[in-house]
């Protein structure tokens, strides 16, 4: 057993302070355990979000010593003995209370994205036919637990407050998961460029670094999407072809019914 000092943000969006707590740490504890211990023993009304305690729901996002992390997957032995641990809410979003932030903006972004639309001709009486190799890459994006750590770290939202112009890395890969779906026939590139602000991302890769699901957001999702935008809207050959033949349909993989 080992004693630690925790400094935890207490307050709301207008005012707040870091309050110190002395806590006892047992083997195997994670930061969320410590927060719960403080809550049960010292501050019954300390607000924190969590559900699964196993890194699967993405509720317990916060900043630990300034780094956006899942509190339930951050083990105490990651820190030096005696090191003070500072826990604060996500910086890119308004604080509701203590460690709980208002992430509703993210839900509004999701609603702006056109839902999946599968090619009707790909439907068989045994379901849709698609192959593992064609879904591997979108399954990577679909591992997302919506913890919004990537949204929190992206400088466009975090430092430049461009919430009105850029949808953020989480929703870039949500678009990617739809655009790269082998059977989806919807077109989301115009709004990706015009409304979702894909051009804002300058590929710093901070989002990929913090993703607890180890999704390679930048290289596998965002960059290919940006390339599609460039191909469509800036490549003279494509533009000419579109003028003559109309918008190109997405190519579907062969279907054997």
């Amino acid at each position: 057993m080992d004693k630690r000092t925790f400094r935890v943000y207490r307050g709301d969006n207008e005012r707040g302070e870091l309050k110190s707590y002395e806590v006892e740490i047992n083997e195997g504890m994670v930061v969320l355990d410590v927060i719960h211990q403080i809550q049960a023993e010292q501050e019954n009304d300390l607000a924190v979000r969590w559900n699964c305690k196993a890194g699967k729901c993405g509720s317990c996002s916060m900043e630990i010593n300034g780094k956006p992390k899942l509190a339930c997957m951050t083990r105490m032995n990651e820190y030096e003995p005696g090191q003070t641990i500072v826990v604060t809410p996500l910086k890119a979003f308004p604080v509701l209370k203590d460690l709980v932030s208002d992430v509703s903006w993210n839900y509004r972004q999701n609603e702006r994205i056109k839902p999946v639309k599968l090619a009707p001709e790909a439907k068989t009486d045994r379901g849709y036919v698609m192959y593992q190799k064609d879904v591997d890459r979108i399954q990577e994006f679909r591992k997302c637990i919506e913890c919004y750590l990537c949204q929190d770290v992206c400088h466009i939202l975090r430092d430049h407050d461009k919430q009105d112009a850029f949808i953020g890395p989480r929703f870039m890969i949500r678009v990617a998961s739809l655009e790269m779906h082998p059977l989806d026939i919807e077109d989301r590139l115009p709004e990706l460029k015009e409304e979702f602000g894909s051009g804002y991302c300058n590929i710093t890769r901070c989002c990929t670094d913090v993703c607890p699901e180890h999704i390679n957001l930048t290289d596998n999702g965002i960059i290919p999407l940006k390339e599609r935008v460039v191909d469509r809207f800036y490549d003279p050959v494509t533009i000419l072809r579109r003028k003559i033949f109309g918008p190109r349909k997405k190519k579907l993989p062969p279907i054997n019914k």
């Binding site: 019954n44 559900n51 699967k56 399954q139």
Partner: protein, 619 residues
């Protein structure tokens, strides 16, 4: 308080709970043209469904073409020790495949077979590979798909909003519900023509549980308070494989897919002990040598399944026995080893989140070392008693689906039948609630007296000068359930358990939460404690009454199934004197044809199904 000052919202159909069942219900109610709202304690997409790992069972027959709803139905009934509501098990087995395919249409991306179809995996108690899955994160795929589809269906969502209690009209039908915003502590009233509970279970009454803080039996308690009946509350599933070390993660689920993918259970002596625990009923369908089990894993269709894939009740009890006999693992569980059965690459591909979970939380590499696992409270087979075809409870206008409803799983649930249950009965309850709401026509006024008393009950917890700490009461309840109403039960300990619950109920009357009403976890804890106490009491009392061992309910003093008890379910309701009342209710005689299917030998049924498939192929 003048209730006209409280914000009031109207919905034809209001759903409480936004896991797989609640979202499925909302989508269907909305598709029926109803104004639909959904209230949830957490943020959208965070409900307990995300924790489901293994998959959803449906007889798609993509991997083994011999599969058929009849065989799925037979497996389900046998797993449930024939206590399931026959009609529910039938509906489930018949409708699951089309609901799973619909999920794919709504954007779910399942793992694929070589032919490009939805892949299916083996699981305990299922005759064939039957679980549609996505690695070991199937629940996440399901909830995200329903969420992303649902947000475009005109459904109103009310996040971080806790339902407190139901309101009824003069006729005794449900006409609204009082809720509270967790953020501000303000109250909000819903007028509704029909209300669907999809509130999940109550595993938080135990110390070692795979359930999150949300699982506090809210639906059971609110329904009970409103006069509805609960049923089968004595059947609580202890999942055989929860983490046992480190302490802070004790109880967190280790998916059954580990065994489905070949993982074996060993005791401290290195013995594969499950061979010693094969029940007679399953002897003819279970491998009795390691050699045969190995052939099965290699894909030999004539080999029988390894004993690690027996139903959950059997495996959980076996681990319990081994530990009691002094053959437990270092931290009091059993060893679960996949490292010797599959390549590291396979493990990481098939079980990525298990790999990650153990790596981070236990600093253990499951591709190299065995895991330590032990039973953890996981699932309620019992719940609100509903009518099989409509999902309506015994209170008009109140519906229930998913884990909070009783009947589908009988005395023990098969892994994988939960996610498909959510899809099937979520859909059916949404549909019948919509029909009911349509027949109702107009909204009716909420009774001010009921509303005020619900609000008073809630605020008195804050307003009291001093009183009991809700966290400590909850802890005491968890300890009590763990020791006295655990996996192995007997009348002595159950009596003790009930006495302790009575004491806690007294203490609860003076529970006090410090602080204000704004995002106050202490207050929320105190509010849910009422629900947990009702849930715990109903479990303990029903467990005492059922003097037999069946499925997940094990009585040391009454070993074995008693045919007499197969005739009854235990129903629970609130008596006129406010006391909890239990009654044995006779079960309906099963449909003859269903009975024939469930009781026929596997060989006969397989032959019958093969013949059916052949004729339908010819036409």
């Amino acid at each position: 308080m003048d209730i006209s000052e409280i914000r009031t919202i109207e919905h034809d159909v209001l759903i409480v709970g936004a896991g797989g069942a609640g979202l499925s219900a909302a989508i269907e109610a909305s598709a029926q043209g109803m104004s639909t709202g959904i209230v949830m304690k957490s943020l959208l997409g965070k409900a307990h469904t995300v924790m489901a790992e293994g998959g959803m069972a449906a007889a798609l027959a993509n991997v083994d073409s011999r599969d058929h709803w009849k065989i799925h139905f037979r497996d389900t009934m046998r797993g449930g020790k024939f206590l399931n509501v026959w009609r529910m098990a039938e509906l489930h087995a018949k409708l699951a495949p089309e609901r799973v395919k619909l999920l794919e249409e709504w954007g779910a991306v399942f793992d694929r077979t070589k032919e490009g179809l939805i892949n299916q995996r083996n699981f305990g108690g299922h005759r064939y590979p039957r679980l549609a899955h996505v690695g070991d994160r199937t629940g996440l795929e399901m909830i995200r798909t329903l969420q992303d589809h649902g947000i475009h269906q005109g459904i109103e969502t009310y996040m971080e909003c806790t339902a407190l209690d139901l309101v009824k009209d003069e006729s005794g039908a449900v006409n609204g519900i009082v809720c509270m915003w967790r953020e501000t502590g303000n109250f909000i009233l819903f007028k509704a023509k029909a209300i669907i509970f999809a509130t999940g279970g109550g595993g938080k009454a135990w110390d070692v549980t795979s359930n999150s803080w949300e699982y506090t039996g809210d639906g059971y308690a609110m329904a009970y308070e409103a006069g509805a009946e609960l049923m089968d509350m004595e059947f609580n599933q202890f999942h055989p494989t929860g983490m046992v070390w480190p302490l802070s993660v004790k109880g967190i689920l280790v998916t059954e897919s580990v065994r489905g993918e070949g993982g074996i259970l060993l005791n401290s002596e290195g013995t594969r002990f499950m061979y010693n625990y094969i029940p007679d009923r399953f002897k003819s369908e279970t491998a009795d040598t390691e050699e045969e089990a190995a052939r099965w894993l290699a894909g030999d269709k004539n080999a029988r399944r390894p004993p690690e894939l027996l139903t959950r009740d059997v495996v959980a009890r076996a681990i319990n026995e081994e530990v009691k006999a002094g053959r437990g693992s270092k931290h009091g569980g059993a060893y679960l080893n996949i490292a010797t059965q599959r390549s590291a690459e396979d493990i990481k591909r098939k079980l990525p989140s298990m790999y990650h979970q153990f790596k981070v939380l236990a600093e253990l590499d499951i591709t190299k070392e065995p895991m330590e696992v032990g039973p953890t409270c996981h699932y309620f087979m019992g719940g609100i008693r509903v009518e099989a075809d409509t999902s309506m409870s015994t209170v008009p206008g109140l519906f229930a689906c998913g884990e909070c409803a009783a009947g589908m799983h009988g005395a023990n649930r098969l892994g994988g039948n939960s996610l498909s249950d959510l899809l099937v009965f979520g859909y059916l309850s949404g549909k019948s609630a919509a029909e009911y709401a349509r027949s109702k026509g107009t909204y009716t006024e909420l009774d001010a007296e009921q509303v005020n008393s619900i609000i008073r009950n809630a605020t008195s917890i804050l307003n009291r000068e001093s009183g009991e700490n809700p966290y400590l009461l909850h802890e005491a309840l968890e300890k009590n359930m763990q020791t006295n109403v655990g996996i192995i039960r007997k009348s002595e300990t159950l009596d003790k358990g009930i006495a302790e619950i009575e004491k806690l109920k007294q203490s609860y009357k003076s529970v006090k939460a410090k602080g204000t009403s704004q995002f106050n976890p202490g207050w929320h804890e105190a509010l849910s404690l009422r629900n947990l106490l009702i849930t715990a009491e109903s479990v303990a009392r029903a467990a005492l009454l059922r003097e037999e061992s069946r499925g997940a309910h094990t009585r040391e003093d009454f070993p074995g199934e008693q045919p007499e008890w197969l005739k009854y379910n235990i129903a629970i309701s609130k008596g006129a004197n406010g006391q909890m009342q239990l009654h044995k209710v006779g079960r309906d005689a099963p449909d003859r044809e269903l009975q024939r299917i469930a009781k026929s030998s596997i060989e006969d049924l397989e032959a019958e199904v093969a013949k059916e498939k052949q004729t339908s192929n010819l036409t």
